[in-house]
């Protein structure tokens, strides 16, 4: 059974069709990267799988459960893009709070170690650097010992060192058998981390396969070139793709 699945999912916001019939599934232990230009429907797909939005038609499940159900929530964690995180709480307090939501959370010390937060666990969130803040959000996503992680643009705005450090954390999670749905604008990130890539464009899946397959399909050697080739083939204006 797939750990997460979208079957024939459409989503309409008024006159806008954000998703026009998407089938997507994540296998146990798999890291699936969802790629696509801005407004392609990546975030909508993630929101539906998190139970934060309902599909207009079609079905979404997490471990066979409704995405907004408690059973689904207990087995997944999510790192989302957020405008502001409460700044007057210490790293450890944030982690202790989110751990209390779960029935079988990781020990706090283990979460702190797995997210690379040792030594700064007693700092206020507001006093952290950008990379440290993202690692705290990563800690909140993994503290419940989930089987499935949602990472929505986890490394946006980070310097190279912090990005690589977070990659190592993500690989660590997958190495322990976890599944991941990653959305990213950084194609080298998808290339480095993903077992499988799905390219979404204007609400439809435009291409799907391992990074190697996608590159072979388009006769390119870098995922970024493959992505541009798919977008071009799909009739997108290049300017739109590059922004």
């Amino acid at each position: 059974m797939p750990v997460a699945e979208l079957r024939g999912v459409t989503k309409r916001y008024g006159p806008v069709e954000a998703l026009r019939g998407i089938d997507l599934s994540i296998a146990p232990g798999e890291l699936l990267a969802l790629l696509g230009p801005n407004g392609a429907g990546k975030t909508t797909a993630v929101r539906i799988l998190l139970g934060l939005a309902a599909p207009t038609s079609g079905e979404a499940t997490i471990f066979g459960y409704h995405p907004a159900s408690r059973q689904a929530k207990l087995r997944r964690g999510a790192l989302l893009q957020v405008g502001r995180v409460p700044e007057t709480l210490k790293v450890r307090e944030h982690i202790e709070l989110f751990s209390s939501y779960y029935e079988k959370p990781l020990p706090i010390a283990e979460t702190i170690a797995a997210a690379g937060l040792a030594g700064i666990e007693n700092r206020l969130f507001g006093a952290l650097s950008g990379g440290q803040k993202q690692r705290v959000l990563f800690a909140l996503a993994i503290c419940g010992n989930p089987d499935l992680l949602f990472l929505d643009e986890p490394t946006v705005g980070l310097d190279v060192e912090s990005r690589r450090a977070l990659w190592a954390r993500i690989r660590g999670f997958v190495a322990r058998g976890g599944s991941v749905l990653l959305t990213t604008h950084y194609l080298d990130e998808a290339d480095a981390l993903a077992h499988r890539v799905a390219v979404i464009d204007r609400g439809r899946i435009a291409a799907e396969g391992t990074p190697a397959e996608i590159k072979a399909q388009t006769g390119t050697s870098v995922l970024e070139d493959a992505f541009l080739a798919i977008m071009k083939e799909n009739g997108n204006a290049l300017e739109e793709v590059l922004q």
Binding site: K73, L74, V82, R84, V85, T88, S100, L124
Partner: protein
């Protein structure tokens, strides 16, 4: 489950206590105003009651209103508008825990303001009354956080994250003044006195004053009913706002 409620409340309390714009202003302003208008004006009296006694009731009401309206109004608006509430909704947090925690913060800070005001009144204002009366007024003032929590949640469910604090100020301060919480309602212009019964702040103040045996307008039961009514109306408005958010999600 119960542990999540406990942790949510404890963490929210820590978070707000460290947030100086909340903790300092909600506690300091009512105390400061009480010093200016009650203690400094000691010799004046209203209806045979010293200002320090009369305004103890109304600034207590003012303090509880502030602690509650900011915790719910500004707190929910910011977390809803800037994505944090969504992170929590995606997590297995029991949905009610979020609102219970805001209520715990309101009650705690409300109780703190009222207790400090009572100490000021007793020590520097020469206010004396039987222990039962002190307790009754303390309880009535702190309980006032409940209807104002509903009003705050209604504001927080509609206001934008950047404007919420301003919106709360624009509602809170005029409502306190026109409801007779800054100075006795009898001193206010007649037009405002006629407006006052439409404000929840007025009814809250009148209940606290009745406990001091100050002659009040209307019956205490009538004021309690009015507050319950305001609480229910705004709980309804808040419900509409919250389900609008959910519909955006599930709709």
């Amino acid at each position: 489950m119960n542990r999540a409620y406990w942790m949510e409340s404890k963490t929210e309390l820590l978070k707000m206590a460290r947030l100086k714009q909340y903790s300092i202003s909600t506690v300091a302003f009512p105390l400061m105003f009480y010093c200016f208008f009650a203690l400094a004006m000691g010799p004046y009296s209203q209806g045979g009651i010293s200002m320090s006694r009369y305004l103890l009731a109304t600034y207590g009401a003012f303090g509880v209103m502030g602690a509650t309206l900011y915790a719910f109004g500004a707190g929910v608006a910011v977390e809803r508008g800037l994505g944090w509430l969504e992170v929590k909704r995606a997590s297995p947090m029991p949905p009610a825990a979020y609102f219970v925690a805001k209520g715990v913060v309101s009650l705690t800070f409300g109780a703190l303001v009222v207790t400090l005001l009572f100490a000021l009144g007793a020590i520097f204002g020469g206010v004396r009354m039987p222990a039962g009366q002190w307790l009754l007024m303390w309880g009535a003032l702190v309980a006032g956080a409940i209807p104002f929590g509903a009003i705050g949640l209604a504001i927080g469910s509609f206001a934008g994250p950047n404007s919420a604090a301003g919106v709360v100020n624009m509602i809170y301060l005029p409502m306190a003044f026109c409801g007779g919480l800054w100075m006795p309602i009898e001193i206010l212009p007649k037009a405002l006195q006629h407006l006052a019964p439409w404000l929840p702040s007025y009814h809250f103040g009148q209940i606290a004053l009745a406990i001091l045996h100050v002659p009040v307008h209307g019956s205490v039961l009538g004021h309690v009913e009015a507050l319950v009514g305001f609480g229910l109306i705004f709980a309804g408005v808040a419900w509409i706002g919250q389900s609008r958010d959910r519909e955006k999600a599930y709709g």
